[in-house]
Structures are given as structure tokens and as C-alpha cells.
């Protein structure tokens, strides 16, 4: 419907620059401030609102950022995790911007005649056209395919821009992980300032994925005060602090600085294999043990009641919806859902008896909208430290590895708004798009679930 707005004169409103710090916990930043490790952030926090924010359930970046960029719940934008499945074939697929069904903040701004530049936000590949520039996220297969308009690829190449740090290298050793994330951060910062200074924009959003990566690989050594890795971790955040300080110094009076994260982080106590648990309970059966990894969910046997995808999404094998489904819709469905939910809440860590899940949400408790049917039937919410995984087959219920040591948390995301006070104390990522629209003087599209914080 963009053509209806073509030629409409620009309304007055502020320019906004937003830096996404993937997975940076609010409480961690407060600690950095208290320990004098983030002088720029400390000063900026006094000149604006630095607040704690809730993520989404589940708290993965694909769901959280899709919610951020659309201002609607997953029932309306159709992104429920990093993987999803077609219930009629059990084929798994990676949801992309084509799977995402809601209009994005930058599409709304584009229609209002604003020029936008958006870089690296999860679930923006393939790049959907905007009035400006869009660079797709780490789910892009190559830089060439990630950029709208394509003619901007050479500029990004000349800046040494990269799609992502190499996560396999990062798994090899913590030294390599540090090298990888620092190099990627260099490219991100260089690109941020180039775009800020050299391009025309009303809205600029640059996403730093490397914070999340750093946390996945090094959160535990940081927390434990490792003599090598804790200082390296703080050094990384010194660079983040410096970047935000430098950016703030360049703002004019018409531009507002925002930064935010999409979820918090904590150390993994144990990974939890939900499909192993479903097998132990008799609700999941596999055709072969061990299953053929090439076949994925096709290894689920026909008389299974349920299966799970990462993280903690449990699907019932409902007749008429799922291939060879055997659970009757209606009373039987509800009965199984109740049973599985209750059992999840009773599940204990075999090592010390700690409860693993704090809640088992029925999908309609979390989501509403035309895509509710695509959501998992139950979304299991763990206590911090228990990381629910989607592996189809594992021999044990829990495991603790030493490569990926950090996991996400729900209630410790962060939002910063420069130069204004936010009265609300409880809000979530769904409220960010409406807030930005309000700041920029663009009326929100109908049907948004979030509310402006200003």
C-alpha cells in the first residue's frame, strides 16, 4: 500500500539511532556501571532512562527481534524460534523474513517517507525492500544476497563488513572465540560510524550480534573471574562503552539515541533434552535408536504423543494437523496438554533435585492472532541455568558442556532511551516499535500489540 503514501510530505519528528546489543543483560550493565567499567554508559544513563525489560517466550533472538521490529506478538508475526516444522510433512525449516508475516517498523517508517538504514537485525534475510538500505542478519548465506539495494554491497565490502563471526572456529577454543567476536565487532563499529556520518537517514539501527556470541562462549569464565577470560570479556564491553560514548558525542539536537538488548544471559547449569524426557515419559517414540540425523522429525514414530523443538517448544501430534497425528482434537488434546504441562513442572534435576521448569505455557496464554496454529502447543519456561534443547535423541536427560556455557534469560533485557524519562516499570520488547514510531511522529499501523513508552 506504499504507493498511497508516495509523495506525502514528511511529517516532523525526531531522527532515531538504535544500537542493538544482542543478549546484553540489564543487571550486568548496571554492575559494569557500579564497578566503574562503563563510564560512558554511566553518564548517558543519567541523561536518559536505562531500564530493565522483558523478552519474549521463548527468549531466543529470532522471536524477540521479530517482536521488537513489528510491535506484535508471535501469533501475528509467525516467528516462533530459529527452526520450525511443517506439520504435514515433518520437514524442518529455518524461518526467514519471508516467513515473517507482519509489517516491520522500518517498512512503516518507509511508507511514511522516512529514510531508514537497518543492519544485521535477526530475521531480516532475505532483505525486504525499504526506503533506504537493509543489510540482512547472520542467517544470510552471503553478503551479496543480504543487501537491499544490491548496489550497496561494494560499499560494505570496502568497509570490511562481514555477515557473522565463524561460530565453529569460536567453538574450537576460547581464544579463537575472542578473536572472532572482536574482529566482527570491529567491522560492525566501522560500518555504524560510516553509515551514521556518510549516509542520509531518519532511522538507523545497527545490530551487534557479537555480545550474544561472547556470552555464549565466555559468560561462565567471566562470572567465575577467570584470570584470562574475565579481563578479555570486560575489555570487549569497554569497547562497547566507548562506541556508545563516541556515538552520543556525535548526536545533534534532533536525534535520539536508543540502545537495547533482546534478552538476558546467565551461566548454563545443565542443558536439558526435552525429547529425552518425553521419551522417558512414554510420550515420544523413535523409529530407530539412534535416529538418522538426516531424517530429523521423520524419525518420530506414528504412535508418539508429542515432540519438542528448541527451546522447550512441545508439539502434540494432533490428528488432522500433524502427519499421522494420533491425538484427537478437543478433550483428548487438552488432557494430554494438561498431563505434559503438569509433568514438566514436576521434573527435577537428577543431580540435586532442583526444579527445571518454572512454567508450562499453553500457546494461547502467550500468543494470539492468525498464526497461533503454527505455534507449539506448550512452551516450557525453564529456571535460569537450565537450557532446554531440541536434540531429537540424547542418552541422558541433562548434560553440561564446556564450549557453549551461557544461556538466555527472560526478564533481564535492557532498554535505553536518551534524554527522556520512561514512567513504566514493566514492559517488553513488543513496546519498542510503537515507542520509536511515537518519537518519530509516525502514526502506528493498526493492530499493534505494544504501546509507546513515551
Amino acid at each position: 500500500m506504499g504507493f498511497l503514501d508516495r509523495g506525502r510530505s514528511k511529517k516532523k519528528g525526531r531522527r532515531v539511532v538504535l544500537v542493538g546489543l544482542d543478549g546484553t543483560p540489564y543487571t550486568f550493565v548496571r554492575r559494569l556501571i557500579a564497578e566503574g567499567r562503563a563510564p560512558n554508559i554511566a553518564r548517558l544513563a543519567e541523561q536518559g532512562s536505562l531500564l530493565r525489560m522483558n523478552s519474549t517466550w521463548p527468549w531466543v533472538s529470532s522471536v524477540a527481534w521479530s517482536t521488537m521490529m513489528t510491535g506484535v506478538n508471535p501469533g501475528k508475526h509467525n516467528i516462533f524460534g530459529f527452526v520450525d516444522r511443517d506439520p504435514s510433512s515433518y520437514k524442518q525449516f529455518i524461518p526467514t523474513s519471508r516467513t515473517m508475516k507482519a509489517k516491520t517498523l522500518w517498512e512503516m517508517l518507509s511508507e511514511a517517507g522516512k529514510r531508514v538504514i537497518v543492519v544485521n537485525v535477526p530475521v531480516t534475510y532475505p532483505p525486504r525492500p525499504v526506503n533506504g538500505i537493509l543489510v540482512g542478519c547472520f542467517l544470510s548465506p552471503s553478503l551479496e544476497k543480504a543487501v537491499y539495494p544490491e548496489s550497496y554491497v561494494p560499499t560494505l565490502k570496502s568497509l570490511g563488513y562481514i555477515i557473522d563471526a565463524d561460530p565453529w572456529k569460536a567453538r574450537e577454543s576460547k581464544e579463537l572465540a575472542l578473536q572472532e567476536v572482536n574482529a566482527a565487532l570491529d567491522a560492525r563499529i566501522r560500518t555504524l560510524f560510516y553509515l551514521f556520518e556518510r549516509e542520509k537517514w531518519d532511522y538507523l539501527q545497527v545490530h551487534i550480534m557479537e555480545t550474544d556470541r561472547l556470552h555464549h562462549f565466555l559468560w561462565q569464565p567471566m562470572e567465575e573471574g577467570d584470570p584470562v577470560y574475565a579481563p578479555a570479556f570486560y575489555e570487549f564491553y569497554r569497547r562497547i562503552d566507548e562506541m556508545l560514548g563516541r556515538l552520543a558525542a556525535k548526536l545533534d539536537e534532533h536525534t535520539t539515541l536508543l540502545w537495547m538488548s533482546d534478552h538476558g544471559f546467565c551461566t548454563i547449569k545443565q542443558e536439558v533434552y526435552v525429547n529425552r524426557w518425553l521419551m522417558d515419559m512414554g510420550w515420544l517414540k523413535l523409529r530407530h535408536i539412534p535416529p538418522d540425523p538426516q531424517k530429523g522429525l521423520e524419525e518420530v514414530a506414528p504412535d508418539s504423543i508429542a515432540y519438542s523443538l528448541d527451546p522447550g517448544r512441545v508439539y502434540l501430534r494432533v490428528r488432522g494437523r500433524e502427519k499421522e497425528g494420533c491425538v484427537a482434537p478437543g478433550a483428548e488434546y487438552e488432557q494430554y496438554r494438561d498431563e505434559i504441562a503438569a509433568a514438566a513442572l514436576r521434573l527435577r534435576d537428577p543431580r540435586d533435585g532442583s526444579p527445571i521448569f518454572r512454567a508450562a505455557f499453553r500457546r494461547e496464554e502467550l500468543y494470539h492472532g492468525p498464526y497461533l496454529e503454527q505455534a507449539a502447543d506448550l512452551i516450557l519456561a525453564p529456571y535460569d541455568g537450565y537450557d532446554p534443547k531440541g536434540a531429537l535423541y540424547k542418552e541422558t536427560l541433562t548434560y553440561k558442556g564446556d564450549e557453549l556455557v551461557g544461556m538466555h534469560t527472560y526478564d533481564d533485557a535492557m532498554f535505553y532511551l536518551g534524554g527522556a524519562t520512561i514512567p513504566q516499570t514493566e514492559f517488553s520488547v513488543v513496546d519498542i516499535a510503537p515507542t520509536i514510531l511515537q518519537l518519530m511522529g509516525v502514526p502506528p499501523s493498526p493492530g499493534l500489540d505494544g504501546r509507546s513508552l513515551v
Binding site: 504435514s88 526467514t96 519471508r98 503454527q374
Partner: protein, 202 residues
């Protein structure tokens, strides 16, 4: 999932792209495995409504019969694609009410563009007074006030227009979102899966 029936109703002046888009949509829906039936002004007037002319009364009757057929098909799980000038707002409102699962697509292009295009040579004749009651020239067209989708064929490519309709049908729950176009080649998908696996998401 069982197919939910629905009717996509293309309305707009002659030459605005109704039939062309309906054909593209038909192709797309069949590719997705849906049962599809297309009802087109140019076709039904050779059979179902052969006896009718172009007076307001006859036009209303034409739409009334087509609506009846679309209603039967829709309630039996068929995707029905209707392309009719259907110039009167109250008549389209009645079709919407009768059919239920009704998606109105307004095909627009400026009249000057249509006259210039004149694919069927009808505008020329109408302007010369050879065709009486010709919508847009000698008969009124009442544009929809709240169509589900609006198309401007003077500004959009057929691809873009089709994508808009498909997206709306997905949004309304008539098409399964998992059928979305693939974003990766097999090789690319393997690359991205490996990346996600390294991060523990698979």
C-alpha cells in the same frame, strides 16, 4: 490441514489487471496444492449469464448468479477467484455477506493509463459511443472503501501485486504460512543449519 474455502473478488475497471492477476494467483494456489475455480466476467457471460446485458439491473443479476456459485464452491473448500468489474458498492457488499470468506482485491490504475493501454480496444469504442453503459466512460464505478488488498497496476509489477495478495491470504489464515517461498538453496540451507548447530539451536 484441510483447505478452508475462500473467494478472492477482483474488482476494478476494464483493463486494470483483474484477469491477469487472477490467472497468476490461480497458478500459485495450484502450485500449493489447493483446489481452485476461476470465475471470470468474460467467461460466465458466454454461459451462466448469457441472457444478460449491461444495464444496471442485468449487471446486478450477473453478479447475483456468480455470487451464488462462488458461495457453493467456497463452502465446499474451494479457492474461488472472481474477476468482475462489479462497479456497484452495495452489490459487492451483498456478495461479501453471502459468501462469507471474502477477500476483496481492488485493481486500480488511473483512467488515462487504462485508455492508453486499451488492451481489448474497448475504451476507444466506448469513447466513440459505440459501447453504451461502459464503466468508467459512460457508467459509474464505485471504488471499494475498505478492500483487503489494493493493487495499483500503474505502479506495481505483477509480481509485487501477487505477493501482496498471497501475503494477505496468509495473514487471514487461508494459506498455510509454512508454504512460504523458500529463501535458501539446498547448499545455503546446509550452511545456515551448520551455523545454527554451532550455536546450539539445532
Amino acid at each position: 490441514m484441510e483447505q478452508k474455502g475462500f473467494t478472492v473478488w477482483f474488482t476494478g475497471l476494464s483493463g486494470s489487471g483483474k484477469t491477469a492477476l487472477a490467472l497468476r494467483l490461480e497458478e500459485e494456489l495450484r502450485r500449493r496444492g489447493l483446489k481452485v475455480e476461476r470465475l471470470d466476467g468474460d467467461i460466465v457471460r458466454q454461459g451462466l449469464t448469457r441472457d444478460l446485458g449491461f444495464s444496471k439491473e442485468d449487471r446486478d443479476k450477473n453478479i447475483e448468479r456468480v455470487t451464488f456459485v462462488a458461495k457453493l464452491l467456497t463452502r465446499n473448500g474451494v479457492a474461488v477467484l472472481c474477476s468482475f468489474i462489479s462497479p456497484y458498492r452495495d452489490v459487492r457488499a451483498r456478495s461479501r455477506q453471502e459468501i462469507g470468506n471474502f477477500v476483496e482485491v481492488y485493481c486500480y490504475a488511473p483512467l488515462e493509463t487504462l485508455i492508453e493501454r486499451d488492451v481489448k480496444g474497448l475504451y476507444k469504442k466506448a469513447i466513440a459511443g459505440e459501447i453504451p453503459n461502459f464503466t468508467g466512460i459512460s457508467d459509474p464505478y464505485e471504488p471499494p472503501e475498505n478492500p483487503e488488498v489494493m493493487i495499483d497496476s500503474s505502479q506495481e509489477t505483477e509480481e509485487e501485486s501477487l505477493a501482496k495478495i498471497v501475503r494477505k491470504l496468509e495473514e487471514l489464515g487461508y494459506l498455510s504460512p509454512t508454504e512460504s517461498e523458500k529463501a535458501y538453496t539446498e547448499e545455503e540451507e546446509a550452511l545456515i543449519e551448520a551455523r545454527l548447530a554451532a550455536l546450539g539451536y539445532l
